[in-house]
Amino acid sequence: MARRKAASRKRATSARRKPTPRSGGQWLLRGLGGVGAAIGFALGLALASWILEIDRVVELRFEGRRFSVPSRVYSAPLIVYPGTDWQRVDLSGWLLRLGYREQPDGGSLQPGGYEWHPGRLRVHLRAFDHPLRPEPARELTFRLAGGLIKEIEEARTGASVEVVVLEPEPISAFLGENREQRELIKIEAVPPHLVGAIYAVEDKRFEDHYGIDLRRVVGALLANIKAGHVEQGASTLTQQLVKNFFLTPERTLRRKLREAVMALVVEARYSKKEILEAYLNEIYLGQRGSTQVHGVGEAARLYFGKSVAALSLAESALIAAIIQSPNRISPHRQSERAIKRRNLVLDLMLEQNRIDSAAHESARRETLRLAAVSRDTGEARYFLDALSQQLPDVYDAEVLSSQGLRIYSTLDPRVQRSAARALKAGLERIESQWSGSRKDAPPLQGCLLAMRPQTGEILALVGGRDYGASQWNRCVHARRQVGSVFKPFVYVAALEPGGGPVVTLADFLDDAPLEIERSDNPEPWRPENYDHKFRGPVSVREALERSLNVPAVRLGQRVGIARVASVAHALGITSPLPLVPSLALGTAEVAPLEIARAYATLANGGRRPTPRMFVDVVEAGGMAKENRPLQGSVPAIDPAAAYLAVSLLEGVVDRGTAARVRAQGMRGPIAGKTGTTDDEFDLWFVGFTPELVAVVWVGFDDPAPVGLPSSRGALPIWTDFISDVLGQNVRGRFPRPAGLEQIAIDPESGARALAGCPRSRTEWFLEGTGPTTTCPVEAVAEDDGQPGFFRRTFRRLLGR
């Protein structure tokens, strides 16, 4: 009841209130207020939305993978031992390339330091961090004499060391489009004096502000007004990080505002430690060739050849000093300027009580000792391209350029350098012999590939003359006519004992005019020798040593072209081979890598290796990710036939078309084959020792005459390369299996040479296939009544 009364009173009061009329100004004010409120609300909404967007961007970048770290490719390790030619293996170059620093003043060596004395090298090897094959840090003394390492000792104990595995060289990296290189570091690994140096010169109140240092902003503003131009900046480390991390380098008020808000968001979201770590990994610190160096980890390697944890106070101050302008204050190019600014940083550190005066003085006195700059010369780029194709598919370009993998390859940097140098010099030498009218021709191209025959490991690969000008990898992708380098496959097919060999090395082949009918041409094919002459019966050995075409075609016909192709495939040729008579002369188009593999099979006693370019892949975190164990090789052809082929190819080098190899002073077991295609379009030389197979190809991308035979074009490049890598005296011996015998023969008739034979040389035979005829003829011991090939040929020639 009471409630009803109250309600009735309220209605009565309300009814008594009458609307009062408003003036026009009031309406305007009220309207403006409403619009203002709406605009304010909209602006607030937009601002909130903008900040939320910034927050989202910041979160995305910070929570996800913050840095693209290119995967690095490392070489095979350098292994040295007493007896190593330390100059040939370029030990001093290795020290420089790995960023070791000379300490001429003696005393205790730091890891990564070395000193030369007459006849002695003392070096403190750094530890090699690898999950499967780590090597400890240790100080060694190498005693040197006569160009060789005589002895290796543990410096601390004097104990003799028999073999030392030196850290693999970083040879290149899979850089992304921005070509940034960095070594990620954890904040715990950063020495406090480096952090102190950076604070001192870049942001002394970093620990106290919230992303923006207002005192510094005001100070900078006043200083700039006084100077009349922009003299001081006021960016905090957080702002610098934001600028590099999220923004473009444009200098507008809008971007500056965005930078400030982002800095506040970053500071609100993340700890100082996280921000500092991101900054230390992100900051730009100079150039190595065309590659940008980012982060203190990479900078420590570039400038001092050491890890960030090992940086001294003076070195830390130098890195802090160059943040302002890494190229203008480059320690490599502007050392005085760099030292001056380093000392300024040290002064600031003292002033801000970050170091004491003793440390300050000592660091100021420290001389600048920089690591030598090892540039990525691009020599290994063709190798890298081929390597990326051999890696499993999951390692695509994006993964390789961002995930900081360590890829340990089979590349031998010294062999690679020799290959690149020999090819370049060889191509220039050929071009220098051209007359003036050819100077306008497109650049002559070439490729050089070196493989270990037992394991298929590729030690060097130069796929062209200049990677910058052409990335086409001729060693792997270019299928070119192979010419006479194919001929040994015909001979192997004829020498293999499967079903009985077609010929022995003492047999004779008829070098006489030959006509072969063709189904696609009414004219028969008439193969000719390079000199258009015919020699009559020639021994199998001589036919290959002189690279005669007609006997090779004849032999191919006897063996059967399908059988020749089958043997070539077994040896390692994967390209399709046309089953035509001219296949015997190498009319097929094959890539140099296939040729190298096929010859490696011969060098390896008939066992075919699988090409291998990497050993393992290690994740950025240090876990082994991919492992490609050494596979050995698989049986491909009869080992004895392979040895006979090697023996023939040794003859090519000793007496035949490749005799120039010996003329250039090479000694020891060397075999090889020249190959020149019609009109000298393609020049090939494949040569091998028991430890190394190398193939050289020279030609134009659009086939055109080179103007030289292979023996004067490709062969000198090979010899130059091999003598540089192995020296003039080659070691080892070719694998000689059981089932072979060496018999003295009469070289003119191929008969077994007995006492009284006026001529004699030894020849290799599969057991039981030696000549049945003898010299002198009267001494026939085991004539089976069947005339031999030589006698058959002679009888035919004489018409009997």
Partner: protein, 175 residues
């Protein structure tokens, strides 16, 4: 089949023409050849011995430590081959390593490679042959019990009972 295998083993071991048990119960130990050959060969053999030491240590450890030693051993063998790719002892030790790890496919190729290199260097002594026969038998057995594997292993056990009597070759025995 067994007879064919037996004949092939005798031929393989070179014993058919040279008489039975030339080893006198002895078998190759790599440390016996540590001082032979040129500098590269000696360094390579030294790395093989380091690998065998790591393989021996792997037998003593468990878990991750054993795994680490096994990987270290493989690295040593591969480096031995890098220093001297014609070193037959390196392929022999690597083949043994793979067999110990149960990888017979890898091992067979390496045994053949080793045999070819021993042959090329004229080093196919009875002491070497016993290991080539034994490893081949081990590789057959690894792929499942077979008469062939047993014949090879039995022959190896006859030639060097102290080493091959248990049907396998330890890293310590080869070292």
């Amino acid at each position: 089949m067994g007879l064919v295998t037996l004949v092939s083993i005798f031929t393989y071991s070179g014993c058919l023409t040279q008489g039975i048990d030339h080893t006198g119960g002895r078998a190759l130990r790599v440390s016996d050849v540590a001082e032979r050959g040129d500098a590269a060969r000696r360094a390579s053999v030294r790395l093989v011995i380091q690998g065998l030491e790591a393989d021996t240590a792997a037998d003593l450890y468990l878990g991750m430590d054993s795994e680490t030693e096994l990987r270290r051993a493989q690295g040593s063998y591969e480096r031995a081959i890098q220093v001297d790719p014609t070193n037959p002892y390196a392929y022999l030790a690597l083949a043994r390593h793979h067999l110990d790890g149960g990888d017979a496919t890898q091992a067979v190729n390496l045994i053949d490679q080793s045999a070819a290199l021993f042959e090329a260097e004229g080093l196919r002594s009875p002491e070497v042959n016993v290991h080539l026969i034994g490893l081949r038998g081990w590789s057959f057995e690894s792929r499942g019990p077979s008469g062939e594997g047993k014949i090879y292993l039995s022959r190896a056990a006859t030639l060097a009972p102290n080493v091959w009597g248990d049907g396998s070759l330890s890293a310590e025995e080869l070292r």
